[in-house]
């Protein structure tokens, strides 16, 4: 984690998004990657017999799970504990980190290896581990690259999407001393060799989970590289960190969710490894961790659960599809958001997890085009949730100036005579405004610094229509 001096999220967002949207190199890189994704996904989704029905069923399954969350969590815990799993309920990120640190001390952890988990980013786990003197290595290639660069992940699914092979090669040369290369294959093999040694020397492996299956007490991990399989199998201790919303009622539900997650996430029909882990090494098995710990994390999720209007935001399976199609994300990039979860879903949930007033600006930075809602495999009404965040923020902490402006607007609009008088003098008012237009003394500077008002026509439509009627024979 970077230890920059904290800036206010709003000004950080404004500065970074302005800088990034002017960065043509970044835009080209992201647009190219995203158009590839779109083409592949279109093909894969097209092979579904009925994508919309599948989507609806996925949404209903998540609705069922979330609206009986206490029952399914208890069922999951009962089933997994029966197989020797140790479950810890963490109300906050600090509690989860403390549990992991205690465990590391108890088992005398030397090295830790980790497979990709956004939940650990949310609770700043690497930072806590490093502060306590532990060496933790990210095994997912993209995560490893951003870890070496001391950057947060750029995207939920593609953490190093913003980097060219040249930049990645430079990072490896600087940090690992490897020779420069412009071949993605050679660069991948460098990371493979580093990790091979780590899997064998680490005695603690940390992973996340994509789903927790209640009826069998298993976690499900989706990945392509094989790093999660090794991270969760080779070290003596395996810790899985997951949000309480990850639970699914039945094992059979995965027949629907695994292909949908892959299709929406990367455009694959199924990702390379979909692994169900149900406990430590079982009697009669040849290998596997001696201890398996599951940490169920709340960290603000129950706050969101308590809002029935926005509860469905917890349906999210973190496929990242809404980021991929979002015109805002494509222009400002993942780091500008300044939050753990980027893109539309990040803008919806971050205000709930980290503070509405501090993060409400993310909900305002949207075109409300609805591309996110349309692409979401579990049918979350994302763009309307952005509107609801805006409404809730304004209700909780009204902006005095905005209120006056809207009251003024309503006053004029409900008085036709006054409105007509104002439209008559509007061209004159606009000429007056020209004197300060785009300058810092302009009260509308926030808007006019980079935009022009359309010119007010000297004649209103009403006048035009009246004269037209008169001209008729």
């Amino acid at each position: 984690m970077s230890t920059k001096t904290p800036t206010k999220p709003t000004s950080q967002f404004q500065n970074d998004s302005e800088r990034m949207s002017l960065d043509l190199r970044h835009r080209t890189l992201v647009q190219t990657a995203m158009s590839k994704y779109e083409a592949v996904r279109r093909g894969t989704q097209g092979r579904f017999q009925d994508w919309q029905a599948a989507r609806q069923a996925a949404s209903e399954t998540k609705w069922e799970a979330l609206n009986h969350l206490d029952q399914y969590l208890e069922e999951f815990v009962r089933n997994t504990e029966a197989r020797g799993t140790q479950v810890f309920w963490a109300a906050t990120g600090e509690e989860a980190c403390a549990y992991i640190l205690d465990l590391c001390r108890r088992v005398e952890a030397k090295e830790l290896i980790k497979s990709k988990t956004m939940t650990s980013e949310e609770i700043h786990l690497n930072h806590a581990l490093e502060a306590a003197g532990y060496c933790v290595t990210e095994s997912d290639l993209g995560e490893y690259i951003v870890q070496l660069r001391e950057e947060p992940p750029y995207h939920l699914v593609f953490p190093a999407m913003h980097l060219t092979r040249g930049e990645i090669s430079d990072t490896f040369t600087q940090k690992l001393g490897t020779p420069a290369s412009d071949s993605p294959e050679e660069l991948t093999m460098i990371a493979r060799d580093v990790m091979r040694a780590k899997y064998l020397s680490a005695n603690v492996g940390i992973s996340g989970a994509n789903f927790a299956v209640a009826d069998t007490g298993m976690i499900s991990i989706t990945e392509n590289e094989g790093n999660a399989r090794l991270t969760t199998s080779v070290p003596r201790i395996h810790i899985a960190l997951l949000g309480i919303e990850k639970v699914l009622p039945k094992l059979a539900d995965l027949a629907l969710f695994l292909p949908m997650l892959a299709t929406a996430g990367t455009g694959q029909a199924l990702t390379c490894y979909n692994s169900l882990i149900g406990g430590p090494k079982q009697p009669g098995e040849v290998d596997g961790p001696e201890e398996f710990h599951v940490i169920l994390l709340d960290n603000g999720r129950t706050e969101l659960l308590a809002d029935p209007e926005q509860r469905e935001a917890l349906h999210c399976i973190r496929c990242g599809a809404c980021l991929n199609v979002c015109p805002v994300f494509r222009n400002i990039g993942g780091h500008s958001y300044g939050s753990t979860y980027q893109g539309p879903i990040g803008s919806v949930i971050t205000p709930h997890l980290q503070g509405l007033q501090e993060w409400k600006h993310l909900s305002a930075a949207s075109t409300l085009c609805g591309a996110c809602t349309e692409t979401c495999p579990v049918g979350i009404d994302l763009h309307h949730h952005l509107l609801r965040n805006r409404r809730n923020a304004a209700k909780a902490q009204p902006d005095r100036l905005e209120q006056i402006a809207y009251q003024g607007f309503a006053f004029v609009m409900t008085r036709p005579k006054l409105y007509r008088q104002l439209t008559r003098i509007a061209p004159f008012l606009q000429r007056l405004h020209q004197l300060i237009n785009g300058r810092r003394i302009d009260p509308l500077f926030g808007w006019t610094q980079s935009r022009n008002f359309p010119e007010v026509q000297p004649r209103t439509f009403k006048d035009y229509w009246a004269s037209r009627q008169e001209m008729k024979p």
Partner: protein
């Protein structure tokens, strides 16, 4: 407060918050149109989610169609698939593969198919049994395993820690070779999960995994590279 009390208090605290949160119900979306009955693939297995079959990619009804689909999926995934007439042909092909790849040592687990096939290669064999040396496994050129099923819909190999020699063997070796039988082909994921339930309900293995092609990554400029951390090659023989 003891450690146990702390754990139970976290549990009660979170469950309490959830129950309070759920006191106000969330609106339910209008239910989808009932799907047409699509139980045509169901064999003797209990199917828990049959309607999913009407939505997911189609797989065909006959075994030959499904085998054709599996073969095509493997080609797309860059997995090598060989449908062999008999065990003799499989061993022959395996010997050619071992020679072409220059294997020095292989790892395998005791099994009806693996034991004979591994012995036929006359190479040093690391047998994966309780207490094996992981460093020795790391030095092997290939892992020879069995599986629970082949999934036509996705071109996946379904393995478990019971059927495929534990959790690590099939992930650590640079080349994973799967030996399967024709009757192990199942149409789709629904059937694969039904099979797992049927076979292991009483006592599930600690790992069950769908392996779909060799390990891969697209983390550098979204360009596909095979062999990120797991096997660089996946070869499937079906007898």
């Amino acid at each position: 407060m003891s450690a146990n009390e702390q754990i139970s208090s976290g549990r009660e605290q979170i469950l309490g918050r959830i129950r309070r949160a759920l006191q106000v119900p969330a609106p339910k979306r209008t239910p989808h149109e009932p799907a047409p009955a699509a139980d045509r693939y169901a064999k003797s297995l209990p199917v828990i989610r049959p309607e999913a079959r009407a939505w997911l990619p189609p797989v065909g009804e006959a075994w030959a169609e499904q085998m054709q689909l599996f073969t095509e999926q493997c080609a797309d995934l860059r997995a090598d698939f060989f449908l062999c007439a008999d065990v003799a042909e499989m061993e022959e092909r395996l010997a050619v593969l071992a020679k072409d790849c220059g294997w020095q040592q292989i790892a395998t687990h005791p099994g009806a198919m693996t034991t004979g096939a591994a012995a036929s290669l006359s190479l040093p064999i690391l047998l994966i049994e309780d207490g094996y040396e992981i460093v020795a496994l790391e030095h092997c050129d290939a892992a020879l395993t069995e599986c629970d099923a082949l999934v036509a819909q996705t071109g996946s190999v379904l393995i478990t820690s019971r059927s495929a020699g534990g959790r690590t063997l099939s992930a650590l070796a640079p080349h994973h070779v799967v030996l399967a039988r024709r009757e192990q082909l199942v149409p789709d994921l629904t059937a694969a999960f039904a099979l797992l339930t049927e076979r292991y309900r009483a006592n599930y293995p600690s790992l069950m995994s769908l392996v779909t092609g060799p390990s891969r990554t697209g983390d550098i400029e979204r360009i596909l590279v095979l062999g990120a951390h797991g096997p660089k090659r996946l070869t499937i023989f079906c007898v």
